[in-house]
C-alpha cells in the first residue's frame, strides 16, 4: 500500500522490540467484549486509476459552468479565481501543517494569517479580525453570543432579511440557551423594518445583513443608530464580501461587530464548503472575541515574528470559561482570501465590484423591459429579486433543460413570495449569457 511504508521485516523487528508476537497482540489491553471480530464491510480497495474514474463520474453529473449558467448566489458566489492563487494555495508547506502551536516552525502560516486579519479588517472597516471561523452563519451565531457576553443582556434582534439559513443556524445555537431571538420584519422597498426595534428592551444586539438576502443595500448607519439608542451592539452581517469593494464598509457606518462569509474572496463554491467565516470587531472588544488570533511580536534577537495570542480567551486554557469552543478553524480558506485580496489589490477590487454591480443592473433593466416586475425598489449590488408571472415553475423547469438555472425560488424561504426568484450576476456572466436568459424566460 502506497501510504504504509512498513515491510514485513520492519514489522517483525519492531514487534520484537515491543515484545509481542504479532500485530493483533498489540491490542491486548482492549477487552474481549469491545473487540470487533469480523471484517469491515467496505468496498474493495481501488487503484489510483480506478479512483480517478469513479470520482470523474461523480463530478461529471454536476451542473457547473461553463456548460450550465447558474444565476444563483444566496450566500455562495461564483467568481473568477486567478491561477496564481490556486497554485500558491497548493504549496504543501501551507497545506500539510497543523495549527501553528510552535511558532518558530510556522512563521509562514502565522505571517500570512496576520496579513489576512489586516486585509479582512480593512475590507470591512474594523480594527481587529479573527484568524477565521467556519462560515458566515457560524460567525453570525458567535457574534451574537459575543454581544450577549459584552452587554450581559439576553435578547438579540435579527433582521428577517438576514440569510434564512444563517438564521436557522442562529436558532440552532440558541435553542438550548435562555437567550431570545426576535426577528425584525421587512418593508415594501426590500429593507429591514428598523422601527420594530423601538421599545425593545434588554437588547444585546441588533443584527442586519447588507446587501441583505434580497440583494438590497441596507441603511447601516440608521440601523447602527437604532442599536445604539437601545445600548445594544450593532452587528453587521454579510454574505457577499466583494460588495465592500464598492459599498461603504460597515465599520464606517457604526458597526461594533462585523461578521459574514468570505467565500467570494478566492474560494470556490465547492457545494457550500469549506467556506470562510469572517469576524471583526472594534479593538475595545478584542478580549471578548471567539476563536484564534495572530499577533505580532519579537524574537530573542529583536527580529519581527508572529504568534497565536490572547489564548487565555480560548478553550485549551480557559476550558469551560472560554469565549468559544472553536479549535480547528478554516485557516487555509483565510490564506486563500488573503492571496486573493492581495492579487486584486485596492484598485482592482473596486473595478471588479463595480463590474458586478453594473452587470446585475443590466440584467435587472432587461428583465424590466421584458415586462417582469422588480418588487423591491431599494438599490442592490449583484443580486435582486424578480417577480415572475403565475405558473413560472414550468418555465423554470424548461430553462433547466436548456442548462440555465434561473435563480433561487424564494417561496420555501418566504412563503409570501410565490413566483419570486433571487437572481445573481457576477463578473463570470457575459452580456450574451444574460440576454439569453431574458430571451428564454420571455418565450
Amino acid at each position: 500500500m502506497l501510504y504504509l511504508p512498513h515491510t514485513s521485516e520492519d514489522i517483525a523487528s519492531m514487534l520484537q522490540v515491543v515484545g509481542v508476537a504479532d500485530l493483533d497482540d498489540l491490542f491486548a489491553t482492549v477487552p474481549e467484549d469491545c473487540r470487533f471480530k469480523g471484517d469491515l464491510n467496505l468496498p474493495e480497495q481501488l487503484t489510483e486509476w480506478e479512483l480517478n474514474d469513479r470520482m470523474a463520474a461523480f463530478s461529471n453529473t454536476m451542473a457547473v459552468s461553463p456548460e450550465y449558467k447558474v444565476f444563483i448566489g444566496a450566500g455562495s458566489y461564483e467568481h473568477f479565481i486567478p491561477a496564481s492563487v490556486s497554485y500558491l494555495l497548493g504549496r504543501s508547506e501551507f497545506v500539510t501543517s497543523y495549527t501553528p502551536y510552535q511558532p518558530e516552525m510556522s512563521q509562514g502560516t502565522l505571517q500570512a494569517i496576520y496579513e489576512y486579519q489586516t486585509l479582512a479588517a480593512r475590507l470591512v472597516g474594523m480594527e481587529v479580525a479573527t484568524a477565521s471561523h467556519y462560515d458566515g452563519a457560524t460567525a453570525l451565531a458567535e457574534s451574537l453570543l459575543m454581544a450577549i457576553r459584552v452587554t450581559r443582556r439576553r435578547r438579540v434582534a435579527v433582521s428577517s432579511l438576514i440569510h434564512p439559513l444563517y438564521r436557522q443556524v442562529v436558532r440552532t445555537y440558541f435553542k438550548p440557551t435562555s437567550y431570545e431571538v426576535v426577528e425584525l420584519g421587512y418593508l415594501e422597498n426590500g429593507l429591514t423594518d428598523l422601527a420594530a426595534t423601538d421599545g425593545m428592551d434588554d437588547l444585546a444586539a441588533v443584527a442586519i445583513q447588507s446587501p441583505n438576502f434580497f440583494g438590497c443595500i441596507e441603511n447601516l448607519q440608521a440601523a447602527g443608530e437604532k442599536a445604539h439608542d437601545r445600548q445594544a451592539l450593532f452587528v453587521a452581517s454579510f454574505t457577499e464580501a466583494l460588495s465592500y469593494g464598492l459599498l461603504n464598509p460597515p465599520g464606517s457606518q457604526g458597526a461594533d461587530i462585523v461578521c459574514g462569509e468570505g467565500q467570494s474572496l478566492g474560494i470556490p463554491c465547492s457545494f457550500g464548503g469549506p467556506a470562510l467565516g469572517v469576524l471583526a470587531s472594534r479593538k475595545k472588544h478584542m478580549r471578548s472575541l471567539p476563536g484564534r488570533l495572530v499577533g505580532q511580536t519579537k524574537d530573542l534577537d529583536g527580529k519581527r515574528g508572529f504568534v497565536l495570542t490572547l489564548a487565555t480567551r480560548e478553550q485549551h486554557i480557559r476550558r469551560q470559561k472560554a469565549t468559544s469552543n472553536i479549535c480547528t478553524n478554516n485557516s487555509l480558506c483565510a490564506l486563500a482570501a488573503a492571496m486573493y485580496m492581495a492579487s486584486v489589490g485596492g484598485a482592482g477590487i473596486r473595478e471588479l465590484a463595480g463590474l458586478n454591480h453594473d452587470k446585475a443592473e443590466y440584467l435587472k433593466s432587461e428583465l424590466k423591459k421584458a415586462g417582469f416586475k422588480i418588487p423591491f425598489g431599494a438599490p442592490t449590488f449583484n443580486e435582486f429579486v424578480v417577480e415572475f408571472p403565475e405558473g413560472f415553475k414550468a418555465t423554470y423547469k424548461r430553462l433547466l433543460e436548456k442548462k440555465i438555472v434561473a435563480g433561487l425560488p424564494l417561496a420555501s424561504y418566504y412563503p409570501e413570495l410565490a413566483n419570486h426568484c433571487l437572481l445573481c450576476v457576477t463578473e463570470v456572466m457575459s452580456k450574451e449569457d444574460m440576454d439569453k436568459l431574458v430571451r428564454e424566460v420571455k418565450s
Binding site: P43, S65, E104, N248, A342, S343, G345, H357, L400
Partner: protein
C-alpha cells in the same frame, strides 16, 4: 547516528504585503467590461478598501518565501500527539479539485448534483460501518463543532423525554474543547479524575452519575493513549440513570477495524476527517467533524439529510425533531471528498492495517525512549504515548527546551504540556505513515537531545537556532496585542 536531518539553508526575508507594492500594479486579470457603467448613489459607496497593489510576481515570491518558513507533514515527521498528522495523499487533492465539485453551487436542484449527493451518502455509510453507529451527519465543520453538535443532540434527546439535565461528566484528561462545548449550552462540566493506571474507573463515574446529569464525554482511546478498558461498564452506569455516552472520536485512528465504538455503549461520537481520514490540516483547518449516532438519536440529527430512493439522491428537511442547522450549507464538502477518496484507496484491510501500524509505531517509540525520558504510565499504549521531563529536571531542562531543540534536528515537536494530568507532558503520535527509519532517526534525535541536556543545557535553552526566528516573546504579544498592521 547518521547526519541529522536538520540543516541550515538559504531562507529569504520577506516584508509584510503592504510594505511592498506600488500604485498601478495588479495581479488580477480584470474581466472584460461588456455592459455600460451604472454608478450607484454616492452615499452608498465608499473609498474602497486600502489594499496594497502588487504584481503577480510579487505575490508569487511573497507566498513562496512564506511557505518556506513553514514545516508540514510533507517536510518531515510531525508527531503531534492527539492530532494524527499522517501523510495526506495527493490523489485526494486532485479529486477534490475536479471542476464538477469545486464549481458546484450548494443550492442546485437535486437532479443537477447527483454525484455530490451520492458521494456524501456513501461516505456516511462507510463511516457508519467503521464506527458501528447507525446514522451520520457530515455537517459539522471540525471536531469541536462535532462536539457541539453532540451536545445539542443530547440536549434535544433529554428534552424529548421531558427532562432538563444540568450537568455533564468530563474526565480531567479531556481536550479543552470538551468542557467548552458542554458549557456553551449551559451544561456544567463535572470533572472526574482518572485512576493511577490513567483509566476512568466505573466507581468514580457511579459516584457522580445521577438523574440531573445528561451524560459523560469520554475520549477513547484517551489522551494518555490508553484504551478505556471499563468503557462498557461505564456506559451501563450512565445509561442506568438515563444519561448518554458521548465519545470524542479524535483518536479513532488507533482502532479502525479493531473496535466498533457503537458496540461499546457509545451513543454519539464525532470523527475528525482531518485526523483519521488523512485530509490535510491546512495550518489550522478546514477540517470536518462528522457526528455518528445510534438509532435513538437519529431523529435529532441536523438537516438537510441526504436520502436515497431507487438510486436517486435528494436532500430532505423532513425531520421535525431535528436540532436544525450547524452551517449554512452541507459542511466541508471539499474535505469529505478527500476522506472518501482515502477510504476507497485504502479498502477495509488497509484501514485496519493502518491502525495496527499506528499502534505499533507508538509502542516502538515508547519502548525505545523509555530509558531516555520518564514514562509515567508504563503499559501498552494505543496510537500515542506520553512521556514527561521529570528525568531532565535535575539538568534544569524542560519539555519546552527539548521541544524547541527537536526543531534544530529537523522534526516537528510532539504535543507538549498536554494532557494536563502529566506534569511536563510530551505526547508523541508517530502515525502509521512514518517508516521505521524515520522513527529511528526521531528516537536518535531525542536521545542526542537528552545527552545534550546533561552536558550542555545551554544548547537547549537557546533552541531553536536553525529556524526563521528564535524563541518569540509571547508575553508581550498578549500584553500589548498588535493584531493588524
Amino acid at each position: 547516528m547518521k547526519e541529522p536531518l536538520g540543516a541550515t539553508g538559504l531562507m529569504l526575508n520577506e516584508p509584510l504585503l503592504w510594505e511592498k507594492g506600488k500604485k498601478g500594479r495588479c495581479a488580477f486579470s480584470l474581466p472584460r467590461r461588456d455592459v455600460e457603467p451604472r454608478p450607484l448613489d454616492r452615499e452608498l459607496t465608499g473609498e474602497g478598501p486600502d489594499f496594497p497593489d502588487l504584481s503577480e510576481v510579487d505575490i508569487v515570491r511573497h507566498y513562496t518565501r512564506l511557505s518556506q518558513w513553514n514545516f508540514g507533514v510533507d517536510t518531515g515527521m510531525y508527531p503531534l500527539g492527539s492530532c494524527t498528522m499522517k501523510y495526506n495523499p495527493k490523489t485526494n487533492e486532485k479529486q477534490a479539485s475536479l471542476p464538477g465539485f469545486t464549481g458546484a453551487h450548494p443550492l442546485l436542484p437535486a437532479d443537477l448534483c447527483q454525484g455530490a449527493l451520492r458521494m456524501m451518502f456513501e461516505l456516511e455509510q462507510y463511516l457508519a460501518e467503521i464506527t458501528g453507529m447507525d446514522a451520520i451527519t457530515l455537517q459539522p465543520a471540525a471536531g469541536a463543532h462535532g462536539e457541539l453538535c453532540g451536545m445539542l443532540l443530547i440536549h434535544a434527546y433529554h428534552k424529548s423525554k421531558g427532562s432538563q439535565r444540568s450537568k455533564i461528566i468530563v474526565p480531567d484528561t479531556a481536550h479543552g474543547t470538551n468542557p467548552a462545548s458542554a458549557a456553551l449550552f449551559g451544561y456544567r462540566p463535572v470533572p472526574v479524575t482518572s485512576n493511577e493506571q490513567g483509566m476512568l474507573s466505573p466507581e468514580a463515574v457511579a459516584e457522580l452519575m445521577d438523574e440531573d446529569t445528561a451524560g459523560i464525554m469520554v475520549t477513547n482511546p484517551n489522551t494518555l493513549g490508553l484504551f478505556e478498558e471499563n468503557i462498557r461498564e461505564i456506559a451501563e452506569i450512565v445509561h442506568s440513570k438515563g444519561g448518554l455516552v458521548y465519545c470524542d472520536g479524535a483518536n479513532v485512528n488507533a482502532v479502525m477495524g479493531i473496535v466498533k465504538m457503537g458496540e461499546t455503549g457509545v451513543d454519539v461520537m464525532q470523527l475528525n476527517l482531518h485526523k483519521t481520514f488523512s485530509t490535510p490540516h491546512g495550518g489550522g483547518g478546514p477540517g470536518s467533524g462528522p457526528v455518528c449516532v445510534n438509532k435513538h438519536l437519529e431523529p435529532f440529527l441536523p438537516v438537510p439529510r441526504v436520502v436515497e430512493e431507487n438510486g436517486k439522491y435528494a436532500l430532505s428537511e423532513n425531520y421535525p425533531e431535528s436540532i436544525g442547522k450547524l452551517q449554512a450549507f452541507h459542511g466541508s464538502f471539499g474535505v469529505m471528498i478527500k476522506a472518501y477518496s482515502y477510504i476507497c484507496s485504502m479498502g477495509p484491510e488497509n484501514l485496519k492495517k493502518a491502525s495496527q501500524l499506528a499502534v505499533l509505531n507508538a509502542n516502538y517509540v515508547k519502548e525505545k525512549l523509555k530509558g531516555t525520558l520518564h514514562l509515567p504510565y508504563d503499559r501498552p499504549c494505543m496510537h500515542e504515548c506520553v512521556f514527561s521531563d521529570k528525568d531532565q529536571a535535575a539538568d534544569n531542562v524542560t519539555t519546552l527546551d527539548m521541544a524547541k531543540r527537536l526543531m534544530d534536528y529537523g522534526f516537528h515537536p510532539p504535543t507538549i504540556y498536554f494532557p494536563l494530568v502529566v506534569h511536563g507532558a510530551i505526547m508523541v503520535e508517530p502515525t502509521e505513515t512514518e517508516s521505521k527509519e524515520n522513527i529511528d532517526q526521531f528516537i536518535e534525535a531525542f536521545k542526542a537531545i537528552a545527552r545534550e541536556a546533561g552536558q550542555s543545557a545551554d544548547l537547549l535553552h537557546g533552541a531553536p537556532k536553525n529556524c526563521k526566528v528564535k524563541r518569540l516573546d509571547e508575553v508581550t504579544a498578549a500584553r500589548k496585542p498588535c493584531l493588524a498592521g
